[in-house]
Symmetry: C2
Subunit: 536 residues, 2 copies
């Protein structure tokens, strides 16, 4: 049922160009350079860097990109055909493309008659000539030229002859790829299948596919196009892009490799897929999509007691692929729906032995359910979860107590802004009463707590907060709603997450900060004890 694909598939990434058209997507030039390097490392064949004449940022990118040392990937500049075929040689857009000095240039042209006749107001012959001359001009300047057939599927459904004529005009002028774009994202799988087959039979050059996700089927359409003979796939990392996004390469790649048994030229380490996805989310400053197929945090997460014990026995019966193949991992969710078996599995993962039965385990399950009811969740806060387990088992007791918290925020008072935290912290029998100013109230709190602890626990110095997230729960209660604060802390080698919930954002932050520091101190202490035991 699954004959391997007979040809190697080319990967063309347009995260840096089409991806940036998405809402909430903003990339600096430096961001784009970082992503380009990473895409090359991963094994993309082509990286579309931007549309040089559309904005100065993209021009700067191509200038700086000349310093990039790429292993395999070829950089591509994107733009349109000339404004008129009479003035091709002086066309600002085409000249801008040449100035970007990329080995490959991708230009798009009209292949839906209505766009040509209404949008540009030109005849069919004029449009074909425009495409031909534009491609030819770039080709004669020594560049490889790919032709993006804009609105191709809609154009073909409307007028197949027109659409094919435009493609052939590009091929005759020397375009080495024709890429069929479902620009509005409305085509159905059976249409993509039929149309790609026709083009593959007539184009004479390798055919590419470029889908948008407006019908929620961009990944499937891309796969179907490849099965129909396309050998070049365009998309973006995490499916970012205008409206509902572009086809998601993060899903297309493992589907082609693991399900259709196809291959790519430079992509070797599919196990880098999850970290690539996370890297791009991070650079975009967007939360990663936990539900994302293959790479999401929930993609191999199991919930519900009975199911989980079966998954642990034989995971291939419950998982469509081995998560390790894409660099992801199996997880068991500690959730309201979960019974003892999930908590037990999680404890195992953390190397903590729970008692088989008895009051202690019942208390633990009860306590966790109660916290979840209050709005706690431990998915991104496993360190907080571990402290709860260890506390219940008597392994751990907090290294300090915050007895009093005061936070003063003042703006405009005597023309000054103040963010100050004052804490009374007990360590053993001593009480520290200290204050710190900060950049915002939570930062002041963090500084004050460190100040209070550092004499007792110098190890506090080595950790730093790397992420701080706030989620408003019960949004309908608006400003008096509960908030959940998730904090990620790092000691340079490892990173751990902690959580706090309260109606008061300052208090929720303090809870998460306390857990984070306690977790670190517990691990430092344990390491010292282990070392001492080994030496004894």
């Amino acid at each position: 049922m699954t004959n391997p694909l007979s040809k190697t598939i080319e990967l063309y990434d347009t995260t840096l160009r089409d991806g940036t058209q998405g809402e909430h997507i903003n990339l600096s030039v430096q961001d784009k350079l970082l992503i380009a390097e990473r895409l090359d490392e991963f094994g993309m064949d082509y990286i579309e860097g931007g549309w040089p004449s559309s904005n100065p940022k993209d021009e700067e990118f191509f200038l700086k990109a000349r310093q990039l040392k790429l292993n395999h990937a070829k950089l591509c500049a994107f733009g349109s055909t000339a404004r008129s075929s009479a003035t091709v040689k002086s066309d600002q857009n085409l000249l801008g493309l040449l100035q970007s000095e990329t080995p490959v240039i991708t230009i798009f042209g009209k292949t839906w008659k209505a766009h040509s006749s209404k949008g540009l107001g030109i005849s069919d012959e004029e449009n074909a000539e425009l495409i031909h001359r534009s491609v030819q001009f770039l080709k004669e300047a020594g560049r490889e030229v790919f032709f993006d057939a804009e609105h191709f599927f809609d154009g073909f459904k409307d007028n197949p002859e027109f659409a094919l004529t435009m493609i052939l005009a590009a091929v005759e002028a020397g375009a080495s790829r024709v890429v069929l774009c479902d620009t509005n994202g409305g085509s159905m799988p059976h249409e993509v299948d039929a149309i790609v087959k026709k083009v593959v039979a007539t184009a004479g050059v390798p055919v590419g596919i470029h889908c948008h996700n407006d019908s929620d089927i961009a990944v499937a359409n891309s796969i179907i196009a490849v099965q129909a003979g396309a050998t070049h796939v365009q998309g973006t990392i995490n499916g970012i892009g205008e409206r509902c996004g572009n086809a998601n390469l993060i899903s297309i790649i493992p589907n082609i490799m693991l399900k259709l048994h196809g291959s790519f030229t430079h992509l070797q380490q599919l196990s880098q897929l999850t970290s690539l996805s996370k890297f791009v989310f991070e650079i975009l400053n967007l939360p990663s999509d936990t539900k994302a197929p293959f790479t999401g945090k929930s993609a191999f997460a199991h919930k519900g007691g009975i199911h989980v014990s079966a998954v642990m026995k034989e995971s291939s019966l419950y998982e469509h692929i081995d998560p390790k193949l894409v660099g992801n991992r199996q997880r068991v969710l500690v959730s309201e729906l979960a019974g003892q078996s999930n908590i037990r599995y999680k404890a195992d993962e953390l190397g903590i032995k729970l008692p088989e039965k008895g009051e202690q385990i019942r208390n633990l399950v009860h306590h966790i359910k109660e916290l979840e009811h209050k709005g706690y969740q431990f998915d991104g806060a496993e360190a907080s979860f571990e402290l709860i387990l260890r506390r219940e088992l008597g392994d751990f007791s907090p290294y300090f107590n915050v007895l009093e918290t005061k936070v003063h925020i003042e703006s405009g008072v005597d023309s000054k802004n103040v963010d100050q935290a004052i804490l009374k912290v007990q360590v053993g029998n001593e009480i520290e009463h200290i204050a710190a100013d900060g950049d915002g109230p939570v930062n002041a709190l963090d500084k004050a707590l460190r100040k209070a602890l550092i004499h007792f626990y110098p190890a506090i110095k080595t950790i730093r907060l790397v992420d701080y997230k706030v989620r408003v729960l019960e949004e309908k209660r608006s400003t008096s709603a509960k908030v959940r604060v998730l904090i990620q802390t790092s000691n340079g080698q490892e990173t751990w997450g902690t959580v706090g919930v309260s109606t008061n954002i300052i208090e929720a932050s303090l809870l998460a900060l306390q857990d984070s520091m306690n977790y670190h101190l517990f691990n430092v202490r344990t390491a010292i004890q282990k070392k001492a035991a080994a030496e004894a």
Copy 2:
């Protein structure tokens, strides 16, 4: 190319059962009842309410659901086949299903040999008998029975005879639907197509499809199954569900109606699709997915100057469907990538006339770009955007100034918790110096500001905050990072959004609150002036 589907398609919603297996998904009994009513109104044929014997919440749901007055939809209870075929009549799971008193019962059975032999440890014949007797028992109790063929596609690929035998055992016992489940979500479109065709040809009863999104193609697989002859589609609203989610009915429904020209029995008003999607996100207390096909806020949002003017001219050339058909609307994004033309379009939408040229419009564009650079975004905060425009044009000046802000947060001090805001607010020549306690610092701030303004502007009384969201920008800078606060305020008829950005969450909240109140006061004042002018 698009022959209309010859048969009416049944819609089977499992948001309340399979949907709740998703991470971060929690529904109370009351939530489930609200959603069930809404699903019925929308036109679902079947609503799967839960798995009665798996948890007490679902049992309570079915008890209370007896009071629901549904128009068309039939409620379904979900569960497994009996534990052993010898004890069908005393099986707790089957008895629980009968006790739920739904007209339809859906039970799942093993159709992948490995699950039957390894998981249950029984022979093929025993498994067939288990399915047969379980279905028969429920059928004899007077219920309509649907059979969910668990892991069917994997099972069929492994051993087609085994998989088909199990289905036929259910049909012979009286099951009126067999639903093919891609439980692990790993099947490819061509496999779904081929396998569904075979089952449709042999099953003798209507065939259903139930997909999971682990390969990012659940929507496409569902459509392809329908084209292959399935006449019953299962999925969830917004694609919620375990791991990567279930097939998203919000995407499947418009694809079937608008693209494949299929029809449903009770679904009449497709224009309710967007509000159904939003309603479920709201009940789930999850932010709605802006990129969601068909119903997302970005689904018909256009970015980028040139493109926008074309879209305004002839939108059918740029949008795969008319957004009104699904209750959505076209939007133009005010973004960094945007030039004057986007801002102009947005101003048009708001009924504000901008000058054609000159310093004023240049200042405005500059000002907005600067704010966006600081982290402002106006997508969910059009009221803030409108105030900026009107201020620049001289239409609006703020109704008050906050001169000083002090916020004191204390916990554990003399065993008391305090969240207090003290404001100095100027209105005209008067200065109010007031304080208020609240539930969290932002709530205290909101209360204090209202207290300061209410004597001057009694209209403040009629508004209330309906949503409060915090987004941490520059997450890598952790606790000293900037935050963006988005607030939604309502006067009972209309809702508007405002935004504030600062490193201090209190200050960011205050900025958004101020905009929200100013916007309301501006509209009240304008309405009074219009009325006075009309009467004069």
